[in-house]
């Protein structure tokens, strides 16, 4: 079976590698992929949205619909893990044989974590807010935020972390993030534009349409950050404790 799979995979791989000769040269600026849509984005995006980070502009505006569903994917994964793994009754506890044991309290680790968490969160906020001008944005910032809570849970323990950031609050934030994103879209719809057409916000906020794009993107990035932060933490919660939120790693 394994041999056969190997053979087939090698065969398929060889064929696919062979087909690459038909592809444009790597790094060719004139290749179709690099010239058609891409040129338009590079030339126009800054002008149309006043966001210099082209990735953010395309991500949150031109293809903002994709990104909304990307956030929904994250949200969905969090709920999925919760639905699959989360237990409230602890009747199965005996079955968990290889439960990691926490031995004592590591003071160095805890203090280091305490020192690091605040700068981490600050940096995360910077990443979210400065995503228009530098690499970063809602996803990256959200993941870092989530990671800061994970760090807290790793250094201390799950229960004390949960006291600060309750499971229901986590879920609330995850839903809220998507709701912010979709809500911005719905409001632009109510304001007479199409779904996610930030330009419609211009009149409401008293700014030009181009600026409205920029603000709209900031709004949705914040929404993304909420969801990603909450879900990253929630994934850790469930997977690390095996679903009973009793004890982490």
């Amino acid at each position: 079976m394994k041999r056969l799979t190997l053979f087939l995979v090698v065969l398929l791989g060889a064929y696919l590698v062979w087909t690459t000769q038909d592809l444009p040269d790597w790094g060719d600026p004139a290749s179709p992929a690099n010239s058609y849509l891409s040129t338009h984005y590079i030339k126009k995006a800054y002008e149309e949205t006043s966001v210099p980070n082209l990735v953010t502009a395309v991500l949150a505006d031109y293809r903002g619909y994709d990104t909304m569903f990307e956030t929904v994917v994250v949200f969905c994964a969090g709920l999925a893990v919760l639905t699959i793994l989360r237990r409230t009754k602890r009747k199965h506890k005996k079955n968990v044989k290889f439960r990691p044991q926490r031995e004592g309290v590591d003071i160095i680790l805890q203090n280091a974590a305490r020192l690091m968490i605040a700068p981490m969160q600050l940096f995360a906020l910077y990443v979210i807010a400065h995503g228009h001008h530098s690499p970063g944005g809602g996803f990256q910032g959200g993941v870092i935020l989530g990671a800061s809570f994970i760090l807290l849970a790793l250094a201390y323990d799950l229960k004390s972390t949960l006291r600060r950031f309750k499971e229901n609050t986590v879920l609330f934030y995850s839903g809220l993030g998507v709701l912010i994103y979709a809500g911005i879209g719905v409001i632009s719809l109510v304001l007479g534009g199409n779904f996610l057409a930030y330009a419609a916000w211009g009149g409401l906020l008293g700014i030009s349409e181009v600026e409205a794009h920029s603000y709209g993107m900031l709004g949705v990035e914040i929404g993304v950050a909420f969801t990603v932060m909450a879900i990253m933490f929630s994934l850790y919660l469930d997977l690390a404790s095996g679903g009973d939120l009793d004890e982490g790693l």
């Binding site: 800054y46 082209l54 990735v55 990307e70 994964a77 999925a80 079955n95 996803f139």
Partner: protein, 133 residues
């Protein structure tokens, strides 16, 4: 002559080939590995290899990162030379793909833990053995 074209092929397309080789490694892991966690690792390799493929599409020789230089000295609405910046579109697409990847990974791991709890093992053959009894 033949050799030269081969070398040219390798040099110009090696990045795509690397991505495709990684895809095949990942796929082999997903199909042939017996341990379910190994399958999951194979799945992640598979997905990030596809991301590599896309990122390779977007690369442009001699260009810079896709953030428009602006502010002092640069006129806001001066014509922007597209050759100066790499293609942002594949990056956008792949941000989505990364997120999809981690989402799938999370769900797969959750189910894996559940399987372990029910069957006491994550070796596929042992699970199938235990089902026969």
């Amino acid at each position: 002559m033949y050799m030269e074209s081969l070398i040219s092929f390798i040099v110009t397309e090696y990045n795509y080939s690397a991505a495709l080789i990684l895809i095949m490694i990942g796929m082999y892991g997903m199909i042939a590995k017996n341990n379910l966690l190994k399958k999951v690792i194979g799945m992640s390799i598979f997905q990030s290899a596809i991301i590599l493929f896309y990122i390779s599409i977007g690369y442009k020789g001699g260009a810079s990162i896709p953030i428009i230089k602006h502010g002092s000295g640069m006129a806001d609405h001066a014509a922007i030379d597209p050759t100066l910046y790499v293609n942002p579109l594949p990056h956008v697409l792949m941000l989505t793909a990364i997120v999809v990847g981690v989402a799938t990974l999370g769900v797969a791991l959750a189910i894996l833990q559940k399987i372990y709890r029910v069957h006491g093992t994550i070796e596929e053959d042992e699970i199938l053995e235990s089902l026969k009894e």
